[in-house]
């Protein structure tokens, strides 16, 4: 076999990415998911620029204004523009999702990596522990954990979510590590005396990226849902503009102003749907076994 030259290697890589893209776009649902997700991300980034009003400005004369040209999605009891609140709420959702997913990945890689690489009794204990957390109802644990905090900031909530949300990630990282661990190139790395950490980080993890990305996308939807649910129950960050808080504000005044609860919840629904479609599409495109 001829040695692969640098530019040839690059071409092969581009070819692989192109093949992935072809698999991804074959499924219309994943394109829809990618578009929805991109729109939500763009809205979150540009919320201050595109919001027609300041979401915190009170305007008592305009309270309970139904959807109209002036206020596309209406206003709430204090005259705040719902559309602007939804735009700013996207920021909250995304912020929480990014932090929680980051923590989930870090813990998942640590536990799953150790478990898969070392095996034996360490693996046994860690996986038992992982399974236990997996069986407990997450939303209940979240409520228990946040209830005793005096100040519930978004960072606290997102961190707790990440701390509770890593078990699937750990299991997936573990099974990837298990399948890669015995590959000749890893053996070679071990033979030339690289230490374990370096082998896991440089040689095993890059090859386990696909399932990590897929799971992170699907879990981001969960975290967004959980944050909104906590906020809805009154257990979120009271100072944040959250879709969950908006829905709970609308619940008491459904008779008078149906739009307050309806549209923020719809935004939440579309976002979780988009992330799920994107995650499913990525799973097919990256050829991740369908066990996630």
């Amino acid at each position: 076999m001829k040695p692969v030259k640098e530019h040839e290697y690059k071409e092969r890589r581009i070819g692989r990415i192109y093949a992935m893209w072809r698999r991804f776009k074959r499924n219309k649902a994943s394109i829809v998911g990618a578009i929805i997700t991109s729109i939500v991300v763009l809205i979150a980034i540009f919320a201050p620029l595109i919001s027609p009003y300041n979401p915190k400005t009170l305007n008592y004369e305009m309270s309970y204004h139904p959807p109209s040209k002036e206020f596309l999605l209406g206003t709430d009891s204090l005259g705040r523009d719902i559309l602007s609140c939804i735009f700013w709420g996207a920021r909250t959702s995304l912020f929480v999702a990014i932090i929680a997913v980051t923590i989930e990945i870090l813990i998942g890689i640590l536990i799953g990596g150790i478990s898969g690489y070392y095996g034996g009794i360490v693996d046994e204990i860690l996986m038992r522990f992982t399974d236990i957390i997996l069986t407990l109802p997450t939303i209940l644990l979240l409520i228990v954990a946040v209830s005793m905090f005096k100040v519930r900031s978004l960072i606290v909530i997102a961190t707790i979510m990440g701390i509770l949300g890593w078990p699937w990630m750990a299991r997936i990282v573990r099974s990837e590590v298990l399948s890669i661990r015995e590959q000749p190139y890893v053996e070679a790395a071990r033979a030339i005396g690289l230490n374990d950490l370096l082998i896991i980080l440089r040689h095993i993890l890059p090859n386990a990226m696909s399932p990590i990305i897929v799971l992170a996308t699907l879990d981001a939807a969960y975290y967004i849902l959980y944050e909104a649910t906590l906020s809805f129950l009154g257990l979120g960050d009271p100072t944040a503009i959250s879709w969950g808080i908006l829905v709970s504000r609308g619940q008491g005044v459904l008779q008078r102003a149906w739009w307050i609860a309806t549209f923020p919840g719809l935004a939440l629904f579309i976002t979780t749907l988009g992330l799920n479609l994107l995650g499913d599409g990525l799973r097919d495109a990256l050829d991740v076994r369908s066990r996630i």
């Binding site: 236990i132 228990v144 954990a145 005793m148 129950l233 257990l235 459904l254 149906w258 749907l273 799920n276």
Partner: protein, 324 residues
């Protein structure tokens, strides 16, 4: 290793699993910085005399190290002593007994309904694979799966209670109504309808996806081809040969799904003011009523653990392929 020793080992494993789970719940409760006594008396009622605060800490055992507190708590829990509510000084066990049946009613009916819908639609989607019916069912189940349950509940209230005025949205019975036995049951079921629908949709959608994919796997197997080749009727092939094996993953995931439904019930009971355990937990969480949160959530966790134990044993009994 035989079946019997597997079951015995699984039963023994229950105790460490219970200990670890309760330790997780306990430590989650203590993640927050700050003094529980401080939390008990927020605002006005806080005693200023540090000696009194010290006495309260001592009486509640809060002056001991955390691990001692944990063991005292878990031993008391197993004895059925869950402490007293900070809010109204009533025993937590009594608060739970007053509410538990409403949660059991909601959760069990929801699980049964979700299973029925899931199997029916899942099998239909699998048989009609790649048709319009399949596409419709798959899309609907994805929608149901991604639906934020609290929002779905409020939309149901908006449509069925506010606009159509068909169902009540508050509580489990009509207060002050004098009804005979059947009248009471019907009244309760009318109150149950909307929370039940809300709780069921997510789980049903999940079961549809699960049954569909597991049914498709089974239908591809050789023994199904054999059954068809023998000239058996398609109905017999599907319902007698395929479905039995396709339902194995459904049985396997029963414990997990019960946890999911119980978690969902916590949120949904709150929306509909359904006076069960879920609403109790949320109310107590908002008021930082420490003993009530601890006792109630540990009871829910225990029931999930028991459901998982039963699931594992049932699977071992019905699936002869599993080797231990």
């Amino acid at each position: 290793m035989g079946l019997r020793s597997y079951i015995i080992r699984r039963l023994i494993m229950f105790f460490p699993i219970f200990l670890v789970s309760s330790a997780i719940v306990f430590s989650l409760m203590h993640l927050a910085p700050g003094d529980p006594v401080e939390l008990m008396f927020r605002g006005a009622g806080k005693p200023t005399n540090p000696q009194i605060i010290e006495e309260i800490r001592e009486r509640l055992g809060l002056d001991r190290p955390l691990h001692e507190q944990y063991f005292i708590w878990i031993i008391n829990f197993l004895k059925g002593d869950l402490g007293y509510s900070y809010l109204n000084n009533r025993p937590v066990s009594q608060l739970i007994i007053e509410r538990i049946w409403l949660t059991v009613e909601l959760v069990l009916l929801s699980e049964i309904l979700a299973l029925a819908i899931g199997i029916l639609l899942g099998v239909t989607a699998a048989i009609k694979k790649n048709t319009k019916i399949d596409a419709l069912l798959t899309t609907t189940s994805l929608f149901g799966y991604c639906m934020p349950s609290f929002w779905f509940g409020i939309m149901l209230i908006l449509i069925f209670a506010v606009k159509l005025r068909l169902f009540p949205t508050f509580g489990a019975v009509t207060p002050g109504a004098t009804l005979d036995f059947w009248g009471k049951i019907i009244d309760n079921l009318r109150h149950l309808f909307l929370p039940l629908m809300t709780l069921t949709i997510g789980m049903a959608a999940w079961y549809v996806r699960l049954v569909r994919s597991s049914m498709l796997d089974v239908l591809n197997m050789d023994y199904i081809k054999t059954a068809r080749a023998k000239g058996l009727k398609e109905k017999v092939v599907i319902y007698k040969h395929a479905l039995r094996n396709a339902l194995l993953p459904v049985v396997t995931s029963f414990g997990l799904s019960l946890g999911f439904v119980l978690g969902g019930a916590v949120v949904i009971e709150t929306i509909f003011s359904w006076p069960g355990l879920g609403w109790l937990i949320v109310k107590s969480a908002l008021a930082r009523d420490y003993p009530v949160i601890m006792g109630t959530s540990m009871l829910i966790v225990l029931s999930v653990l028991i459901a998982n134990l039963i699931t594992d044993i049932v699977i071992a009994l019905i699936d002869p392929r599993i080797k231990y």
